[in-house]
Symmetry: C2
Subunit: 491 residues, 2 copies
């Protein structure tokens, strides 16, 4: 009997009977390539001989994993609020030797309003911080913002998931998303059992966007009986890096208003603007407000994050969204849904406070803050340009410049032989190319198929975040790999 | 025309067409009473005269909001990893005057393994921390644990939501939950469109649990065509505070094994054990492993958190779950689903590390750690007993002792007159009682209807977390309110 008992029973939960919507969801940024990358990293640490000395994660916008220094003032404040004994009279003298006076003052102020970073906060986020977010938005846009319409979140992703969840009433609901898109959107829509309604960005026009294409997407969905409720726009674009022109944004708002569609504006890269004269950032909130009373009441949710910009505090999970024009009863429901997860983590909320309320001119920490911020900013511009130049120079490769964000998304034209080899390996050509690159160089990029692309084309997304001092070496490795790959599979 | 344009259009999203499952979800711990409590708090801050000097939030286990001191060593490490410059040679001398050497060593070790608290980590949690969690579990239970089966989370709630989401395939799936229960479960099941299959804890037997009751619940659900897939157990209980006997736990495991049900063990209060001789904590993992090869392969997910115990770091959002006996392909799916939210916040992960790996005897910080821990522990025991004694002494009130957790859940027998007054106010009697208490005393408790209770009974849940130095005043206020309330509504 014992031997029979020992035979493993089939499991209650299998991939055959699990939640089919989770099974269906895909998230390429941390998919097969990223898993392989993690394995190579462990191999390298173990001392296994590999054709490269280090792995480089360009699959995800994770600046501090590639040694980007955090903003010192932000971390000083975070450090002080963790250990309030530092602020006691007894320690004041020592503390003042390690921390600047404005960091100490800010920490005291925060603790006065928060109590302890270890206590649950208001589910919507600490009211005092939301007031500062509102002030930041109103100064950015020139239009008022209301703290009661702002929700602090565990990163923008959590905000997107929460708000999409509110909107999806039934499986016939459609949400318009750009192609290429950030796969958070397709993954979340798969889980919510909603229909992605794809509209295509035009690569030939710097990933621009036309109302004609929006109308086409909307109408096609309507013909299939899909009820389009919301439109997601990522500006600056991910993976495409485009910054929308104000005129274009007015068209999009007009389109949403006309068709009664909620606008969801993912603006997490609003500080990553690399051609501010030609391609400045405009928030959808500002453009909407500028369009006058006819558009008053248009429903708009705008997302922001501490993970991007020059801050790059991804691991902390902080962000916010602002609701404009929403039914107050819906706001109550968003609050209730937030409260089930209790509250966003308080250290993430504190970083939102610091993002929207950094040192000001005249503050003791201003000069250092400004220098650190600018160093990162100008270095990102330089690296973006260098990598774009490299990609544009590669055989069969074209690449639009990054107007914003943290990515390049070049198109690559592969040989028949390469496409056949990919097929044989059971992979899409772009995935095959990226896997070959990873194995040869240790550099992890993400295949375009993870973001969506025009059928028959192949792309890949790379961050331009590798360390400045290693950047030339990184570029050389890609160049060499590409040449070898093209030669190997030459028709 | 302008005036017509200005008429507010109906909204795209209303409570009439939003996601009906969110609309249906209820979360009493932060519901109507908590919202009123927040309003009273603001009123008090504004100086509005109210019948009390302070509000007291007993609606939620949030120790640090009621001035419980965090564990100093934990915060010292958290403070150091935020500001790594403190660890530089240049600052070493000053830092060593503010931080003990073992906190400095631990911070260095953490940074070596993490890199930066501002970088996204592995989606499953930092491997090095998961190794320590596995070590903690194996030392606690005497059976091995595997880091690859452990997922770090943003609090136990996020783990519960994620894993329940995996299990619910279709609207016919049932999940057994205790009544009374922590409303996270009913809220999450409502959102997932699954059936709660309630089983009742027996108040007359110290909130004990019988297999007969489990069978009854299971069979009734089966008769309704519900496919029961999992059973949630909260041990120590919330809101009930019971600690299950080992024998009872074997029965539950046997029940799950027999009916092919996944066991979900919410063990977040495992350190809050107030009668360790009579009512020690046993983990379900340990009891399962002790039951021999016949039960090998039983699917079990166990949750733990940094929010409770003597740590009380709720605002940080950290925790973990351990998977036992799950299909490896399901583990891959859990990993994928985790990766869509990128990673749990790193400061929360660090607190998990400190929880499972606190200072050891002989370490410089051990004596202080031990003293702080014990002070909180013995004070919780004393406060639990004091409040239990008060509740038991109140007219019409009976109260089981708290064997564990942070709550008492007394039953209150209200007069006909009070029940009529509640009806007139459109409230359940327990909600009516709690609202009256809040308005008279500033003390916020949660009505039993938020947790579920036997029909026709009325309960409320209170934490015993108010500050020791204010505890007598707190008890006196409740006593006075209760007498007034009973007199006012005497039949």
């Amino acid at each position: 009997m014992a031997s029979i008992d020992k035979v493993a029973k089939p499991k209650v939960l299998t991939t055959g009977n699990m939640n089919p919507r989770i099974r269906k969801a895909e998230y390429a940024v941390r998919g097969e390539l990223a898993i392989k990358y993690e394995k190579l990293k462990v191999e390298l640490e173990k001392g296994t001989p590999l054709p490269f000395k280090r792995v480089v994660g360009c699959n995800i916008g994770n600046p501090q994993a590639l040694d980007q220094k955090p903003i010192t003032f932000f971390r000083q404040v975070a450090s002080l609020v963790e250990y309030p004994d530092l602020l006691n009279d007894k320690n004041a003298e020592l503390t003042s030797k390690l921390y600047p006076s404005d960091a100490i003052e800010r920490a005291k102020l925060l603790l006065k309003h928060i109590g302890s970073v270890g206590a649950y906060s208001h589910s919507q986020g600490i009211p005092w911080i939301r007031e500062h977010v509102a002030k930041f938005i109103s100064e950015r846009d020139g239009y008022p913002a209301d703290p009661s319409k702002i929700f602090l979140t565990q990163g923008a992703s959590a905000g997107v998931q929460l708000t999409l969840q509110m909107i999806v009433e039934h499986p016939g609901v459609g949400i318009m998303i750009p192609i290429p898109q950030y796969p958070l959107y397709t993954a979340t829509l798969a889980i919510l059992h909603a229909n992605p309604v794809p509209y295509y960005l035009d690569e030939a026009k710097d990933w621009g966007l036309t109302t004609e294409e929006l109308e086409r997407a909307y109408n096609e969905a309507a013909q299939q009986g899909i009820e389009t409720r919301a439109l997601v726009i990522i500006n600056p674009g991910n993976p495409t890096g485009q910054c929308l022109k104000e005129e274009n944004m007015r068209d999009i708002i007009h389109f949403c208003h006309k068709h009664r569609i909620i606008l969801l504006a993912d603006e997490v890269y609003q500080a990553n603007i690399y051609h501010p004269e030609d391609h400045p950032f405009h928030s959808f909130k500002k453009v909407l407000k500028s369009m006058g009373p006819e558009y008053e009441g248009q429903e708009l949710i705008s997302y922001h994050s501490i993970s991007k910009g020059m801050i790059g505090e991804c691991g902390r999970r902080g962000g916010y969204f602002e609701c404009e024009g929403l039914d107050p009863l819906i706001m109550d429901q968003i609050y209730k849904a937030s409260s089930i997860s209790l509250c966003p983590n308080v250290q993430g909320q504190i970083m939102v406070e610091l993002m929207v309320n950094p040192p000001k001119q005249g503050d003791p920490s201003y000069a250092q803050y400004k220098k650190e911020y600018d160093d990162i900013y100008f270095s990102l511009i330089a690296r973006a340009k260098k990598l774009e130049k490299l990609f544009s120079s590669l055989e069969g490769c074209t690449c639009n410049p990054a107007e914003g964000a943290m990515y390049l998304f070049p198109q690559i034209r592969l040989s028949k032989k390469a496409i056949e080899a990919a097929e044989k390996a059971g992979e899409t050509p772009d995935q095959f190319y990226c896997m070959a690159m990873l194995e040869a160089t240790g550099v992890c990029m993400v295949a375009g198929s993870g973001f969506g692309q025009v059928k028959g084309t192949a792309h890949f997304r790379s961050t331009f975040l590798p360390q400045p001092e290693l950047f030339d070496e990184f570029c050389a490795a890609i160049q060499k790999f590409h040449e070898d790959f093209m030669n190997k599979y030459r028709d």
